[in-house]
C-alpha cells in the first residue's frame, strides 16, 4: 500500500503544523546580538481550526477573531419543535465504555439527552429517550476516586456514561422523562 494524503488528512496536517515543528520560543532562542527575536507563536493546545478559534490562539494578533466569536456565539442549542428543556448541567461523558471522558454542556429534554459544544453550537452526542433500554446509576472508580456515574444503555448495543456533580438529580429527571414519554 502507498501513503496517501487525502482530504481527510487535514487533522493530521493541523496536528503537525500547529503542535509540532520548530518554534521561536524562550527555550530555543531569544536574543540575537542583543536584538530580541520574538516568537509570536500560534502554537495550539489542541488540533483543529475550531479549537483554534475557540481558544483564541489568534489572540496575540487578534481582536477581530474574538469579535467574530462573540458575534457568532450562540447561548443555547436549537431544540426541535415541541421539545422542551428539562435540565441542563455541565459534566463529562464517555461513549461505549471507552476510557476517554470529554466535558461539555448536557441537556435533558422531553425528547432526548445530548451534549452540546457551546462555542461551536455543535451536538457532541445525542440519545433519543425512546431509544434508551436501561438507565443505571453505578459506582465506578475514576482517577482513584469512587464516584457515581450514570450508565445509559441504548438500543444498538451502545452505552453512554455520564458524570456530573448532580448526577443523581440527572438520573431522577431522566427516569421521569422516560416514563412520561
Amino acid at each position: 500500500m502507498m501513503p496517501e494524503r487525502e482530504d481527510d488528512s487535514l487533522v493530521e496536517l493541523l496536528d503537525r503544523l500547529l503542535k509540532k515543528g520548530l518554534v521561536l520560543n524562550a527555550d530555543v532562542l531569544i536574543t540575537v546580538a542583543g536584538v530580541p527575536l520574538i516568537g509570536l507563536s500560534l502554537k495550539l493546545l489542541a488540533a483543529g481550526i475550531e479549537t483554534m478559534l475557540e481558544y483564541g490562539i489568534f489572540e496575540q494578533f487578534d481582536q477581530t477573531t474574538r469579535a467574530w466569536a462573540l458575534e457568532h456565539r450562540v447561548t443555547s442549542p436549537t431544540l426541535m419543535e415541541e421539545e422542551e428543556k428539562k435540565l441542563n448541567f455541565f459534566g463529562s461523558y464517555s461513549q461505549n465504555q471507552g476510557k476517554a471522558w470529554n466535558y461539555g454542556y448536557m441537556y435533558l429534554t422531553n425528547r432526548r439527552i445530548f451534549g452540546w459544544h457551546k462555542a461551536f453550537n455543535k451536538i457532541l452526542y445525542e440519545v433519543k429517550l425512546k431509544d434508551i433500554l436501561e438507565v443505571v446509576l453505578v459506582t465506578n472508580v475514576h482517577e482513584e476516586t469512587e464516584r457515581k456515574e450514570l450508565c445509559i444503555k441504548i438500543n444498538n448495543d451502545s452505552v453512554l456514561s455520564l458524570h456530573s456533580i448532580n448526577i443523581e438529580e440527572v438520573h431522577d429527571a431522566l427516569i421521569s422523562e422516560i416514563y412520561s414519554e
Binding site: 500500500m1 501513503p3 496536528d15 530555543v28 540575537v32 500560534l42 465504555q97
Partner: protein
Amino acid sequence: MNETEQENCLYVYAILNTATEQNLGPIGINDNPVYTIVYKDIAAAVHFSEKKPEPAKNEQQAKEWVFTHNYAIDKMTEKFGTLLPFSFGCVALGNDETIRFWLQKNYEPFKSELEKLNGTAEYLVQIFYDPKILAEKVLKNSTELQALNAKIQGMSKGKGYILQKQFDVRRDQAITQELSKLGAEFGRSIHENVKEMIPEEKKSNVPEKFKGKKSVIALSCLVSNENVENLGQVLEQINEHEGFAVRFTGPWAPYSFIDLKKDFEHT
C-alpha cells in the same frame, strides 16, 4: 501608520539546505514572496511580515493559511530536500541580518539536524480494528466465553444483565489481550522499516472511511525514502489481517522528529 508597523518582521517557514539566496516566488501565505536568507550552506525561508499580521477573518481563511503554509513547505521540500519545518505562525522580530546572525549562532545544531533527517520524511501509520469482528473471533476461541454466553441466552433480560456485564468484561479482556499480542507483532514489523517512530499522544482521529472501527495505535514514523515501499508492503500485510485496517498517510515534513532542544543543550 504607527511605528510598530514599520518594524521589520519575518514569517519563518523552515531551515533548509542551500547556499544560494533566492526568491522562491509568491508561494507564501497571502501570496507573499518567500525568499531564503543564507548562512554558509544553510538558509531560513521567510516572507516579510507585519508585526501584527491581520487575523484570520474566518475559519475558511484560517484553513487556507494552514494549507498554504503546508504547500510552501511541500514546494521547498521538492526543491531542497528534507528541511526543518517551523510551526504555523512563527514570526521573528528582526531583519535579514538578524536571521543570518541567528543561523550563524545555531549553525551546528541546524546543520546536524538537517543531516540526520536527510533523505527521510514523516509518515503517519494508524491501525484500526473492528470491535465486532474481533469480538466474534475471541468468542470463537474461548470456551469460557461460549459457556457464559449460553447461560445468558436462557435467562430473562433482567436476570441476565449482570451476567451480560460479566461477559462483556471478559470479552473485552480477551480482545485487549488479542490486540496487545498482535500490536506487538505489528509494531516489530513496522519498526524494522523505519528510522524512528513515536506513538501519537492524542487520541487518534478515526476518519469517515474507518467508521465503526477503533484505533489500535497511531505512530508517527520517520522513514528513509528508499524504505517507504517496504513499509507499504508490511502495512499491506497488516491490512489483510481479518478485522484490521491500516491508514498510511504522508509524506509530511519531519515535524515530529526535530529534536533541537537536545542539540541546543550541547552547544
